[in-house]
């Protein structure tokens, strides 16, 4: 029987299900033992994980950069806020609607973006990120969207079955964590299958992929839709956790932080997306703690995280032109070559991206898109 269960574990779906269940168990323990403040931070990390994971699939596997994911989050947050305030929909329906509405927006953006690449794409999505929050202040929409102050969202009420004393923060953390685990589970399955493979093929060589019968433009649109849907869910969760949807919550800096998170975590890596999101939540906390203990001014403390993200973005790109993940693999390869070689050097760096067959499921998914940036050597 033990052989049977090992074979079963090779199945991607089973493995990912086990991972998701384990993650839920760990998060349950974490949220029930942590205080309200930590719970809130966990909730923030969870919704950021959704957005970062979506972006890392688009940029890491699809090769399409998006500086507009903060704006996608805004779409999700406002959709959720409007539905809660005016329609009083149940939680799951609200989040599904936020995801769906943002996916629709993503389809429009994706149709445009599929034709663009490199700096043009970055510039267009940058305009999207800066322009969209301005809609909230547009005169005819002010009554609907609440202008600069945004919309106050009534906090989600924990179900009565959990007891009257159940803390709101823990409930928010549960909702957000469930969303994050679900997103990671779906994305992991999606990117390990045919979709992820074809997406990587389109990224690495558009012409070869087209010759092989892939419709690269359509693939990219689908990738943008999936990615935007994740960001929309993240936005909906943000509205529930922050109990607010306001233009100030979605500045350009948010989109740039998401980019920083995917680079720090390793492009295309879902595990890296979790790390990236954790860094986005805990670096500001750490910075303000460090600033208050060492007596730094408020200006320095509030801008320290941004400075760190920016420096890391530059350093990682200059030091590891193939991404942090690729850099680590190069480093590992160099170390292995230093050691007495047992036999021929196997697995050269950058070789992890060959097409895998559907049943060869023994590869950890976070190796999928590593080095993606280095491979688009075209000008």
């Amino acid at each position: 029987m033990s052989i049977d269960s090992r074979a079963l574990f090779r199945l991607t779906l089973v493995r990912h299900t086990c991972g998701a269940v384990a993650a839920i168990a760990v998060l349950y323990v974490l949220t029930t033992t942590a205080g309200p403040y930590r719970d809130l931070q966990i909730a923030q990390a969870a919704y950021l994980t959704c957005a970062v994971a979506g972006l890392t699939v688009l940029t890491g596997l699809g090769g399409q950069i998006s500086l507009g994911h903060g704006a996608f989050m805004a779409v999700g947050a406002y959709t959720a806020a409007l539905l809660i305030i005016h329609q009083g929909w149940p939680l799951a329906a609200v989040l599904a609607a936020a995801t769906g509405a943002t996916a629709l927006t993503g389809a429009v953006v994706g149709a445009v973006a599929a034709r663009l690449e490199g700096p043009y794409l970055a510039g267009a999505t940058l305009a999207f990120a800066i322009g969209l929050p301005g809609l909230a202040n547009y005169e005819p929409l002010i009554d609907l969207l609440g202008g600069q102050n945004g919309l106050a969202v009534p906090p989600p009420v924990p179900p009565a079955g959990l007891g009257a004393a159940f803390p709101l923060e823990r409930w928010q953390a549960w909702i957000a964590c469930l969303g994050a685990v679900l997103t990671l589970f779906l994305l992991a399955n999606l990117t390990r299958g045919r979709f992820g493979r074809t997406l990587r093929a389109g990224r690495d060589d558009e012409i070869a992929a087209a010759l092989a019968g892939l419709r690269v433009a359509r693939l990219r649109i689908v990738a943008t839709v999936v990615s935007a849907a994740c960001a929309g869910l993240a936005g909906g969760l943000l509205a529930l956790v922050a109990t607010l949807a306001a233009p100030g919550a979605f500045p350009l800096a948010l989109s740039l932080q998401l980019i920083a998170a995917i680079i720090i975590g390793g492009l295309g890596s879902l595990a890296g997306a979790v790390w990236g999101a954790l860094i986005l939540v805990f670096v500001p906390t750490w910075a303000s703690d460090a600033a208050s203990t060492s007596g730094l001014s408020h200006n320095i403390a509030s801008n320290l995280p941004l400075a760190i993200y920016g420096l890391v973005l530059i350093a990682v790109t200059l030091a590891f032109p193939r991404g942090l993940q690729g850099g680590l693999r190069d480093l590992g390869g160099a170390l292995r070559r230093r050691l007495p070689p047992p036999r021929l050097p196997t697995n050269p760096p950058g070789g992890a991206d060959e097409a895998t067959t559907d049943d060869a499921g023994a590869r950890p998914d976070d190796r999928g898109g590593a080095g993606g940036r280095g491979e688009r050597v075209r000008r």
């Binding site: 305009a127 350009l252 801008n303 973005l313 000008r379």
Partner: protein, 292 residues
């Protein structure tokens, strides 16, 4: 009709500033095939330096000189330290490095000068001129803005077309290998190109500062407008950048005047998308193959 004329005049003024930012982007794109997403932050820093000079009691002109000089230095330093390693690398690397620089500069400005925007004085009065009894949306300061940008354009054109240095700059950008064979110090020329571009950008920052105020995030939209103007003109053509800037300035002025000033950035996005969909090489470029 008066309203239309006024909006056009306001559009030309803001268009002149967009043209300067677009020109900064185009100069860098031509030389190094990098879109400098840090341009907005770079001109923010130099404008803050100018603001500090004024805050310390310096005159407007001293502040302008300080901004231009610091722009020149900043551009050169940025090219040598940060951009040189990603030249001739995949596009995404350059995009991410310039975005990282953007974030770092914005954070640095917030640390040094704080996040609250400061007002910036204009060089001349911003009271509109009166012609035949009607007030025009054109003040002496607006004329100064247009004149300053035009003067820089002329100076740059003369530099590029008439001087030996300009020829070297163009050669280094156009065919680096051949230029190097002919004895041109290509690396030095690229640094100089970035410095010149940053100089033009810093001028735009000082000129637009009275209307947008000086703060770490106040110039974000300028980057979008400059990029849009540059794309309208084809990203490769300095003349196109100027025309693109003026066209965009007028178009956005109409959006702001007839629809809503909150939709200006969305208007720029619409213009950008339209141009990219219809004429990806810009309105003025001869249609050519896509660079692969």
């Amino acid at each position: 009709m008066v309203r239309f004329i006024n909006l056009t005049l306001a559009g030309i003024t803001s268009g002149a500033v967009f043209a300067a930012v677009a020109l900064a982007l185009v100069l860098i794109w031509r030389a190094t095939r990098v879109v400098n997403f840090a341009q907005g932050a770079m001109l923010m820093i130099t404008t803050f330096i100018a603001w500090s000079v004024i805050d310390a009691g310096g005159s407007y002109w001293l502040a302008l000189g300080a901004a231009l000089a610091s722009g020149l230095v900043l551009g050169a330093v940025v090219e040598r330290v940060v951009v040189r390693p990603v030249e001739n690398k995949p596009h995404l690397n350059a995009v991410i490095v310039t975005l990282g620089l953007f974030v770092v500069l914005q954070a640095a400005a917030g640390m040094i000068w704080g996040d609250t925007p400061h007002s910036y004085p204009p060089a001349f009065t911003i009271r509109g001129l009166s012609v035949a009894g009607t007030w025009l949306l054109l003040s002496p300061f607006d004329l100064f803005v247009i004149g300053a940008v035009a003067a820089v354009m002329v100076a740059l054109t003369l530099l590029f077309v008439r001087t030996d240095l300009g020829l070297k700059l163009r050669a280094a950008a156009f065919a680096p290998e051949i230029a190097r064979l002919q004895g041109v110090r290509v690396g030095r020329m690229l640094t100089l190109g970035w410095a010149l571009a940053a100089l033009v950008g810093s001028l735009a920052g000082v000129l637009v500062a009275p209307s947008v105020f000086v703060g770490p995030t106040q110039f974000d939209a300028m980057l979008v407008f400059g990029f849009t103007a540059a794309v309208i003109g084809g990203l490769d053509s300095p003349a196109g950048a100027v025309v693109g800037g003026l066209l965009l300035g007028c178009a956005l002025s109409y959006v702001s005047g007839y629809v809503s000033s909150d939709l200006v950035t969305m208007g720029a996005l619409a213009a950008l998308i339209t141009v990219l969909m219809v004429r990806p090489n810009g309105l003025f470029a001869a249609s050519g193959g896509r660079r692969v």
